[in-house]
């Protein structure tokens, strides 16, 4: 079966790959581009650890047909740090013990970034809603919610 050429922006960099028909974006990112930050969890849209931003919107890369991102911008956890400097969300996750086994962390961070990009001072309820598609079996969610609130601009998140 012939492969399809695919070009898109990956963390601000133009990439060009060839994909098999039906390849999902997660496989394209991990196996063809080498970005291992989005994780494979359930493959069903239930866990959220494969979450990425497509044109700034939160999507599940395991349920995204790779061909549909042609010409679009895909942002993964690998792209949110600034050189050696962690993103404020990453720093807040570390400071608030929001990562234990770490498997959900890439998806949690992308879901949190999608929230803070459009709502820099979310309420606690808005944070809970924003990460509601992401499953964590370690933390009990409280440290993650606290970390997102701490990272919110100026730490002045609403109650």
């Amino acid at each position: 079966m012939t492969k399809t050429p695919l070009q898109f922006q990956h963390n601000g960099r133009d990439v060009a790959i060839f994909v098999d028909g039906g390849t999902n974006l997660l496989v394209a990112l991990r196996e063809l581009i080498g970005d291992m930050t989005p994780k494979f969890g359930c493959g069903q849209g239930g866990c959220g650890t494969c979450s990425v931003l497509i044109d700034g919107e939160l999507h599940l890369s395991c349920l995204t047909l790779a061909e549909t991102v042609a010409g679009r911008s895909v942002e993964t956890l690998d792209g949110i740090k600034d050189g050696p400097n962690l993103h404020p969300l990453q720093r807040a996750f570390a400071d608030n013990f929001a990562a234990q086994c770490g498997y959900c962390t890439p998806g949690m961070l992308m879901a949190a970034k999608a929230l803070l990009d459009r709502n820099p001072q979310p309420s606690r309820a808005e944070v809970v809603e924003a990460i509601s598609g992401n499953i964590c079996r370690c933390t009990g969610y409280e440290p993650i919610i606290n970390a997102v609130l701490a990272a919110a601009s100026g730490g002045r998140a609403r109650a």
Partner: protein, 272 residues
């Protein structure tokens, strides 16, 4: 296993491709078809897509609402004129699923999903489909009854009359995990009122049968009556009639039968 992806600019061409190949499936938001591919579903060998912008159009300005099949739940939540549909749209998935999932795809979502379709059934929606032989409109009830045979047709849009008031349309999803989770049961009711009497009651239930169904006995208990305590009691007592829920990890069929009347009572009483 690799599949063939066919993308068309026109819905006619996409419909022709779907109807001519039994192993073809239409890909909208991806939350059903990509999931099937990830699980190794070998019955799908071709994925059909349509880039026609009509598929993502929302017309909510008039008395009749038209939603293109490719409209996502996130877009419904952003539409002020569709405030009555915000509760069903918000009850689906997390933010990522709402950015991807579409109203057309939801028509095919199996139990415990398909909550938005329950709302559409209560609103007596009409489904516009395009088959190999042309387009037609099907009542949503008929569409759902023949859903297994609709895989070869392309859903273009869903349309329905806007409820006359915010009180006239009610929705409730019972889930174990909040704010996101598959449904134990889902309920929606459209209760148009003439004077103080309900005229044209429609009550729809999700996860109480293999597809969303109408609670006809409950509708009969409501029809022509004022929405008072005795009417609500009668409707709640009749809610379970004609249902055939199944067991799954979220709830047993017995539990669903036990609670459907309780939650219909709460829905009709306006309780949280």
């Amino acid at each position: 296993m690799p599949v063939t992806v066919k993308t068309f600019t026109s819905t006619n061409e996409a419909a022709a491709a779907l109807s001519s190949d039994r192993s073809a499936r239409y890909l909208g938001g991806g939350t059903l078809v990509m999931r099937a591919l990830n699980e190794g579903d070998i019955s799908i060998s071709t994925v059909v897509r349509a880039s026609d912008q009509a598929m993502t159009r929302i017309d909510a300005s008039g008395a009749r609402v038209v939603l293109g099949a490719g409209v996502t739940f996130a877009r419904i939540l952003a539409e002020r004129d569709l405030g009555f549909l915000h509760a069903p749209a918000r009850s689906i998935g997390g933010p990522a699923v709402r950015n991807m999932g579409t109203v057309g795809g939801n028509l095919f979502a199996p139990v415990p999903y398909g909550d938005f379709t329950v709302a559409m059934l209560a609103l007596d929606a009409v489904v516009s489909v395009q088959g190999g032989l042309g387009g037609r409109e099907i009542g949503i009830e008929e569409f759902l009854q023949s859903r297994d045979r609709q895989a070869g047709t392309l859903v273009l849009a869903i349309s329905f009359a806007k409820p006359g008031s915010t009180e006239a349309f009610r929705y409730r999803k019972i889930a174990r995990i909040k704010p996101k989770g598959g449904a134990v049961i889902t309920l929606a009711a459209h209760l148009p009122v003439n004077g103080s009497r309900i005229v044209g009651a429609r009550v729809a239930l999700g996860s109480m049968a293999p597809t969303p169904i109408r609670a006809r006995a409950a509708e009969r208990a409501l029809e022509g009556r004022a929405l008072d305590a005795s009417t609500i009691n009668a409707a709640a007592a009749a809610a379970v009639e004609g249902t055939s829920p199944g067991d799954n990890a979220l709830a047993s069929a017995w539990y669903r039968r036990e609670i459907v009347g309780v939650h219909l009572r709460r829905l009709l009483s306006g309780q949280e």
